[in-house]
Each structure stands twice: as C-alpha cells, then as structure tokens.
C-alpha cells in the first residue's frame, strides 16, 4: 500500500463525518461504482426478483446476499482512494475472485453482524483469514462498531422510506383501470390480492431504493474502516511525517551540499575522537552488531513499561453478578433474581422470534391462522323487555292459563303470558338470544332465522297480538286471541315443563 498516494484527507473523524465522507466518495466515483454495481449486482437481483415466484423468498435470498453485494462498491472505492479508479474491465477481472473467496463467510458470518460494513473491507482488502481475521475484526470493532450499527439502522430506515415513497408515487400515477384491486386486502385477506404488474413495479422500486442505500451503506462502512485504521495505525501521523520529510529534503537541496557535508564530517570526527579517548578498550562494542530477538523483546518490554506507555482505560458495562459475589458479606444476594430475569429475557426473546417467524409464514400463506372460535356461554336471560322469562315464573299450562285470563277480561295479561311463555321457551331452546337493544320485530327475525317455519309463524302471530295489547291499549279480537291460547301448547309442547 502506498499511503502517500491516498486521495482522501486522512484525519480523525466522527461517525457523522464518516457518513459525509461516504457521500463525497459516491459523488466522486459514483460512475465507476454504479457501473460495477449494474454489471455485478443488478442482474442477480433482477434474476431473483423475476424468476423466484414468491416475492418474500426472493427478498429473503437477496437479503442474505447483501454483504456480498456490498463488497462491490468497497472494492471500487478502495482502489479509487489510492489514486487508481478501476475501470469496469479491471473490476470484472479482479473482483469476482475476491467475491468467490468471501461468499461463504459473507452469508454465514457477516450477514448476521449489524456492524458488518466496518469489517467486510478488512476481509476484502487485507486478505486475512481465520483467527487472524477475527483478531483484526475485534480491533476494528473496539470503538467503531457503534457508528457502524447506527449507519446500518439509518440506511435501512432510508431504504424503507424510499421504497414506501416510490410505491406511493407509482400508485398515484397508475391509471384507475390498471390499479390492482385491493378490496381483499382491505378485508384482511392477504392471500387473495393479485397485484399483477404492480408487483413488478414494486420490485423495481425496491431495487432502486436498495441500489442507492446499499451502495451508501457500503461506502459508509469503508469510510469508518479507513477512520479506524488511521486511528489505530496512525496513518494521518505517518502521512504528516512524510510530508515533513519531503519539505526538509527540498530545503536541504537549496544549501550548498559540500559545505554542509564538510561541516557534518568535521563535527562527527571530533565527537568520535572524544568518545574513543574516554571509553576503555574492553567495553567497546561493534556498532554494527544488531541485538538478538530476545534482547529486542526485552528492550521493547522495558520501553512499554515506561510511564509514557501506561494508559488506563475505564469501560462500564452491565453484567450479571457472579455467584457468591456479594451474598457472603451480608449484602443483598440478587443471584436468583438475576438468573430469573436472565431466563425471562431469553424466553421473551425466543417468543418474539417465534412470533416473527410465525407472522412471516402466515403472511406468506404457508400456514393458516385458525383460532378455534369457542361459543360464548352467556348467562341465561331472566328478563326480556321487562318480562320475567324464567321457567319457574310461568304456570304449568300456559295456554290454558292465558285462556282463563282472556275470558276473565284481562287481555293484556293473557297476551303478555303467551308472549312471555314463548320467549321463555325460545330462549331455553337457544332459538333466541335477544340483545338489550332488540325490539319485538328483531326477536321475530331471530326466530325466523333460527327456528322452524311453523313455530316462527306462530311466534309472529303471538308477537302481533302482544304489540296490540302493549302499545295501543286495545284488544285483539276474541277469535284470534283464543286461537293463540289453544295453539300455544301445540307449538311449545315438547319443551313444556
């Protein structure tokens, strides 16, 4: 790596400044990045979206491949950052090998890391593998994973927002006759909605929003990676020294070289002579002899033990107390509580995951949501329209008793008894379950739907007679009333107590 060729201004940046740097990179090298993206990523996406019948499956597969796709802009940006913007041919020649090498680790490992944008550039550009790569990733993540997670969340939100807006725009500009029928969707039947060509439009909108946000996300990760490296390895300091050295060399070129060399030679000789005179012969060591590896390690340890290298860093994090940690000295022992909370936390997490999976499967139509509808057992009604309909409140032979009342001149009592008795029987047999707001006609309607035709006809007649008595203060004619009294037992005999 030729650091002096870097075309970016290296300096310690905050996370937000790294996002700015990503946007600047996209502005500068957008052509090369999107050219590579169009050739390597878009065809794969289109293939999945159009060839895989189930949209959710296509989106899931593409979601799994995202870390691999994001290597494309990182590759182009990494070359461009060191002064050589790669042509499409160069990208197509060099990148596929790296993609193939990293395909498995991207899907299996990086897919599940929310901070992957920070560490995938290391895997691509440094070429380390195995344990070495894990150590390297840990170093990078030490203080940069927070910004990487934040960037992932931001670009995910941006992608969703762009997608929704794009779909709405598409919807607004769709002529009415071409718009998909969303009636089943509004009725909650997700399986019946046929979006037709609109689904293709939605997929293309998603692809466009992902192309923008995916590239930006990858570049943001690359910017964070550069920032971490310059922080860890002092790239910015190194570059400053190199520039300083270059300037000094320029100054020296202007002074007469011979005079300087002569002066330096004289000074050096004089000092050398002085040292030789003062040093015993036995203690003289050859200057060219390099220290052994062991000595070098010892010297390094001595240097590192110096106070200048003694840095103390305090980090605070939550953790569960260790068993027996504080219980012995009389303090409150929270171990059990801690483990219970831990268990509940895990249980909640598992339940949430199961719920999400079930929801996804349900929306995909792979499983059906069947809730056993249990019949509601409402308490039996004792009063309807203010009438006591409990069986024990009624006489043994209702028809005969009503006839007696009618002949005695109590028309309202007689019709009321017939109606009350009919309600009581119908409620007891389940043919009627009146609501508080139901009127007499509503009850007749319920019976018409739930009971036999004959009994419905009779109940309607009883209701009419009852209405006359109840709301007009008049009497039905004798023949009608007596016929109802006589027929009552015939229609409700089976249930008669």
């Amino acid at each position: 790596m030729q650091l002096e060729r870097i075309s970016l201004a290296l300096r310690p940046r905050t996370g937000h400044e790294c996002l700015d740097l990503a946007a600047a990179m996209l502005r500068s090298w957008g052509g090369a990045i999107f050219a590579a993206w169009s050739v390597l990523v878009l065809p794969v996406c289109l293939l999945f979206l159009l060839a895989v019948e189930r949209a959710w499956l296509a989106l899931f597969l593409l979601w799994m491949l995202r870390p691999l796709f994001e290597l494309v802009p990182v590759f182009v940006a990494s070359r461009a950052a060191f002064g050589a913007v790669p042509s499409l041919q160069v990208t197509l020649r060099d990148l596929p090998r790296s993609l193939w090498r990293l395909a498995l680790v991207c899907v299996v490992r990086y897919r599940w890391m929310p901070w992957r944008a920070l560490v995938t550039p290391a895997a691509l550009l440094e070429g380390s593998t195995g344990r070495k790569r894990a150590v390297r990733e840990r170093e990078l993540r030490r203080s940069g994973s927070g910004d990487a997670v934040l960037a992932a969340c931001c670009f995910l939100a941006l992608e969703v927002g762009l997608f929704v807006q794009g779909v709405l725009l598409l919807w607004f500009f769709t002529p009415g006759e071409l718009a998909p029928d969303l009636a089943p969707f509004e009725a909650g039947d997700f399986g019946e909605v046929r979006l037709g060509w609109f689904a293709v439009g939605m997929k293309l909108v998603w692809l466009a929003s992902y192309s923008v946000c995916g590239v930006l996300h990858a570049l943001a990760g690359f910017a964070l990676y550069l920032n971490q490296r310059s922080r860890l390895e002092g790239w910015d300091v190194e570059l400053a020294f190199r520039r300083l050295g270059a300037r000094a060399a320029q100054v020296l070129r202007r002074v007469p070289v011979v005079a300087v060399l002569a002066f330096a030679l004289l000074v050096t000789l004089a000092r050398s002579q002085e040292t030789t005179e003062r040093t015993p012969e036995s203690s003289r060591e050859p200057a060219a002899v390099a220290p052994s590896r062991q000595d070098a390690a010892e010297i390094a340890r001595e240097v590192l033990a110096h106070a200048d290298f003694d840095t103390t860093e305090t980090r605070t994090r939550f953790r569960f107390p260790r068993a027996g940690g504080r219980g012995d000295n009389g303090a409150l022992d929270l171990d059990v509580l801690a483990y219970v909370l831990q268990f509940l936390g895990w249980a909640l997490l598992v339940a949430l995951l199961v719920g999400v999976v079930v929801m996804i499967l349900r929306m995909a139509g792979l499983i059906e949501w069947r809730v056993a509808s249990r019949p509601k057992l409402a308490p039996p009604r004792t009063h309807v329209f203010g009438l006591d309909v409990r069986p024990e409140s009624l006489p043994e032979d209702i028809g005969a008793r009503a006839r007696e009342l009618w002949l005695a001149g109590d028309a309202a009592g007689a019709m009321g008894l017939l109606y009350r008795g009919a309600l009581s029987r119908l409620i007891a047999t389940g043919a009627l379950a009146p609501d508080p707001g139901d009127t007499e006609r509503d009850c007749v309607e319920h019976v018409r739907r739930l009971d036999s035709v004959e009994r419905f006809g009779f109940f309607a007649s009883v209701t009419s007679a009852w209405l006359v008595c109840a709301y007009s203060r008049r009497r039905p004619d004798d023949a009608t009333a007596l016929a109802l009294c006589d027929a009552w037992g015939q229609h409700f005999r089976r249930e008669a107590t």
Partner: protein, 330 residues
C-alpha cells in the same frame, strides 16, 4: 302514566287511510323501478308533513319519483336547478311593474307548488338556501312585505351530489336539521337497472320522463286528511321515551362531535307514526322508531374528525346506538 291522546283513529278510518297510502306507494312503484325503500321514505316524509334531503349521484330517478308522487294526488310539481347565481327571488318569486296598467304585479316563483324539487341545493349561495329553508319552515313566502301562504300539502325534496364538492356551499347543521329525512339513494341492482333500461327505451324517443302509468288515487285534500290521521296515531309514553333516549345517546356517544337536537326526537316520532300507518297499524311500536332512526338522524349528527378518518359513517354510529339503547320495557 301521562298519555297525550288525541282523537282516537277509528278502525274504518285507519283501514281507509292505510289502503290509500299503500295504493300511493304502489302507483309510484309502477314507474320507479327498485328503490322501494327510498320510495317508502319519501312517502313517510310526505305523510308526516316534512321535507326530504336526498343524497345520490345524478340519474337515479329523483325527478321521476317526485313527478310520480305528485301525480298520485294530482298535485303540482316544480323543479329548480340550484346554481351559484340563483337568487332567492328566482325561487320565491318577485314583484314586477307593469307599464301598461301602471301597477305592480306579483310573479310567483316555482316555490308556489305542492312538490318542489330543489336539485343540487348545495350549489346555490347561502342566501338562496336560506330563502328556501324559510319557505320550508314557515309554509309561506314573503315578497315585498306581503306574506303569501303556500297551498298545502307542500314538500321540498332537495338533492345533493355526494361526490362533487368543488364550488358548493354545504348546508349548515342548523339548516340540515330542518329536513325531516335524509335519504341516501344508491345505484339499482342489475335486474332493476335492466328493467329500467327496458322500460325507458321500449317504443320511446328521447329521454322524457314517462309517468302516464301512474294513476291518481286521491286528492290534495285527501293527502291533508292522511297527514291529520298520521298525527293522531297512538304513541305511548314509553315509546316516545325510547325515541328521546336514542336521540340523547347521540349526544354522549364517543366519536360524535355534535349529536341530534330535540328536533331529532320530534322527527323520530312523526315519521314513526307515518310508518305505523303505512303498515296498517293505529299505534306506534319501538320497531317503527328503530326502522326510521337512520334516515331521520343521519344528517343531524356530526362525527369527530378521527372517526371520519377511520371511515366510520353516521349510519355505523347510529346502528351501534340502536343496538345499545334498550328497547322499551313493559
């Protein structure tokens, strides 16, 4: 129990009135295909002596309905197309100076009729709307300080288009309250529409409305007698109380910004009486109240914006209220 009883309607009178009303409905139904519910509601408002606001898209037979109804009792019919430049005098009439005789003469407007169809009432300015509503309320027209009573029976059927709101002057709630019923006319079913097309196109040229099939079954005086009969039907205290409870519930119902006023309860009982007569009964039951509650109350409620945003209609709210309010108890 304090029952306000008018002169009791005899069985013969009831039977005669009921038979006449049923015949009127049948005659109107000869030319107005389908829309049985709408025809019945217009008839109810007519019998109750009220006015009707009809909401529906153009071309659903509103004019035909009014024309047919006028023909059943030999009444006069007038139609006014409300436009933004319509002046009150275009509806009520005005006084003109006649040069030949040197006198002022009253030129009566279309409001001097029995059935007035005010088409797209919300397109006229508030001033013209108010003039018409005053006619509806007072039953008389004042021109140049001189009041002239309208010849009864008089009923206004105002229409408004639910779709086009551009350039309209929506009726204020206080004015809406003066309409006895608000009827929502919907598109006919496939069979009904096929019959309409067949009836209108068979052996006819042009698109004139044909109501010659409608027979005259009574006179304007008979209609007044019917209205008087309706007003005397028995309504028990608890049935009136049921109507009032429904109206009061609209004021406290969650999501209703403004409920119905006392005029709502009055209208409920008036229309329920007409409904009872139409069914051949001399008394009103809670079922009658419930059956007419939607057209009587739907224009007297104002829903809160959040409920409207959720797509809830006043009819939905009223159905919930009717389900909740307990029917009268013996």
């Amino acid at each position: 129990m304090n029952e306000v009883q008018a002169v009791v309607v005899t069985d013969e009178e009831l039977a005669r009135a009921s038979e006449r009303v049923v015949r009127m409905r049948t005659e109107v139904g000869r030319v107005v295909i389908g829309q049985a519910e709408e025809v019945e509601q217009v008839l109810l408002a007519f019998l109750a002596g009220g006015h009707v606001l009809i909401e529906g898209v153009p071309g659903l037979g509103k004019t035909l309905l009014v024309l047919a109804l006028a023909r059943t009792f030999g009444g006069k019919f007038a139609r006014v197309q409300f436009t933004p430049d319509l002046m009150p005098s275009d509806v009520t009439g005005h006084v003109v100076y006649e040069g030949a005789s040197g006198t002022f003469r009253l030129r009566r407007g279309p409001a001097f009729t029995n059935l007035l169809l005010a088409d797209e009432i919300n397109r006229a300015s508030a001033k013209t709307q108010s003039a018409l509503l005053e006619v509806m309320q007072e039953g008389q027209i004042t021109i140049e300080g001189e009041a002239t009573a309208l010849t009864p029976p008089f009923m206004t059927l105002a229409t408004q288009n639910p779709i086009e709101q551009e350039g309209t002057y929506p009726l204020p709630e206080a004015q809406l309250d003066r309409f006895l019923l608000k009827i929502v006319v919907d598109y006919p079913s496939l069979d009904e529409e096929t019959r309409i097309v067949e009836l209108v196109t068979a052996g006819r040229t042009g698109g004139q409305l044909e109501v010659s099939a409608v027979q005259r079954v009574c006179t304007a005086e008979d209609v007044l007698a019917l209205q008087a009969t309706v007003a005397r039907l028995t309504v028990l205290e608890r049935v009136r109380e049921y109507a009032v409870r429904i109206v009061r519930e609209t004021r406290t119902w969650r999501g209703v910004a403004m409920g119905a006023g006392p005029r709502g309860g009055i209208s409920l009982v008036r229309v329920a009486r007409a409904k009872a007569l139409l069914e051949g009964r001399g008394f009103v039951t809670p079922d009658d109240i419930k059956a007419v509650a939607l057209p009587v109350l739907r224009h007297r409620l104002t829903l809160a914006p959040e409920l409207e945003l959720e797509g809830v209609t006043t009819d939905d709210v009223l159905r919930s209220i009717l389900q909740k309010v307990e029917a009268p108890r013996e």
